[in-house]
Amino acid sequence: MSATEYLRVSKLHAFYGESHILHGMDFTVRRGECVSLLGRNGAGRTTTLRALMGLTGKRTGSIVINGREAIDMAPHKIAQLGVGYCPEERGIYSSLTTEENLLLPPRVGSGGMSVEELYEMFPNLAERRHSQGTRLSGGEQQMLALARILRTGARLLLLDEISEGLAPVIVQKLGEIIRELKTRDYTIVLVEQNFRFAAPLADRMFVVEHGQIAAEIAQSELAGRMDYLQELLGV
């Protein structure tokens, strides 16, 4: 294992009940790197993140996070390795206020952002801290879902479709935030449908098809592989 490798997924199979969804995912992410998982609807990208968090049914293969094997760990143990998960449906709790949502995830590492810092980064959340979490707009809920895992000191962020369904200004703001996180040396897995959003941010892109990695494209190869991506993703 190279010293800079932060996440290594090998021969990962995952099931929902009887359905076999992931068929041997293989990829690695280096410390401080931002990779994107691209693919068609139903390719298995959400399932990959959920399998990393231990939220699918049966899993086999290997998931090494910061040197620790996590394939048999319970979800809370995986989180405690320093992983922050932002689910596709955002997962804002309606029975919690905005601030309670923000403060919910316990610390899983040192050096998380302070609440003040986060309110500065997301002023809307400060304004609406006492509102019920699900009363926020879609964009605000996305900000909240992101902000609450930045507080915990997680160093590996698993972000599922954070740009989905949001207005262009908000998508742009999210892009700035990801850039900011990259300068702070976070390791990020960005699951995206929105190629235009992901392409400038990702150091490498993995194309997922039928629960496997079909291709790996580095940022530098991007121009040459546009035709391939276009055909694959319809972008």
Partner: protein, 295 residues
């Protein structure tokens, strides 16, 4: 002149008081059921048996160990809570993924085993448990006598009920509980040990039932059969209030106790059925219960 609708005021207030006492028990028990249902999605049919154990263990502790009322009030809920942990670890945890009906059947079975076991060992005759001396007697309010122990039951139950409500709705631990209730998977993925939280929630619900049992011991004959009437009414209360709402179960429990008490004054024949009449009416108007959320 001390009459309302031809009912002497002291009689009315006396029944109101009794209604509040019963309502306090309904509130404590239905609160425990609501807390358990919220987190485990199990309708805990063992609740009456746990309540009965609370009273039986206080009686046993008194007779065999010389442990008095006040210490029982603390120790018995802890002990029964520990039994709750055993029930959760050995039985309930295996059926969370199944239809809630299995939970109902399993806890019903547990209730039968506990009830049968206690009847086998102790028979079904009632045992007296005396009111602690500090709470004996009554206060003369001029227009009526107020038994101190009844006052204490109301105050103690409501204190515990509102403390529970505050803990769940207003504290950080409560935020974990609410989050775990709403989305257990994601909550666990944030690093919170949800399985342990579920276990402790069940233990807490059982401890609440046992607390009600200890409180009830001096008000009734302590016996393995003491929960049978109570628990049927409590389930009606839960149906009326709607499963899962904390404040709803407290208010409904108290309210129905009062309605029951007042019915005794105005039309005593209906006093044992009024709760079920209310239940039928509520079910026709709001099938999810007064405080329940429609699916």
């Amino acid at each position: 002149m001390n009459e309302i609708f031809g009912i002497p005021l002291p009689a009315l207030l006396g029944q109101l008081m009794l209604g509040l006492v019963n309502g306090s028990f309904y509130a404590l028990l239905s609160l425990g059921l609501a807390v358990i249902f919220g987190m485990l999605h199990i309708i805990n049919f063992a609740h009456g048996a746990l309540y009965m154990m609370g009273a039986m263990f206080s009686w046993l502790a008194m007779v065999y160990l010389g442990i008095g009322y006040w210490r029982s009030l603390l120790l018995v809920p802890l002990f029964v809570g520990a039994i709750g942990i055993v029930i959760e670890r050995f039985l309930l945890q295996w059926i969370y993924k199944l239809d809630p009906l299995y939970g109902l059947l399993l806890t019903f079975g547990v209730a039968l085993i506990i009830g049968g076991g206690f009847r086998y060992v102790f028979g079904s005759s009632g045992q007296p448990y005396s009111i602690p001396p500090e709470l004996g007697g009554a206060v003369d309010l001029g227009f009526m006598f107020l038994p101190k122990y009844r006052m204490w039951v109301i105050v103690a139950s409501l204190t515990i009920c509102f403390a529970t409500w505050f803990m769940i709705e207003k504290t950080r631990l409560g935020a974990y509980l609410r989050a775990g209730t709403e989305n257990p998977g994601l909550t666990q993925a944030f690093g919170i040990n949800v399985p342990v939280m579920v276990m402790l929630t069940y233990a807490f619900g059982t401890a609440l039932a046992a607390f009600a049992g200890v409180l009830a011991a001096p008000t009734t004959q302590v016996s393995p059969l003491m929960s049978s009437n109570m628990i049927i009414t409590v389930f009606a209360v839960v149906v009326i209030g709607g499963m899962g709402s904390i404040m709803g179960s407290i208010i409904t429990g108290l309210g129905l106790g009062v309605i029951e008490g007042l019915t005794k004054v105005f039309y005593a024949q209906a006093s044992s059925t009024v709760v079920f009449i209310v239940m039928v009416i509520v079910l026709m108007v709001r099938p999810a219960g007064l405080f329940g959320k429609e699916k």
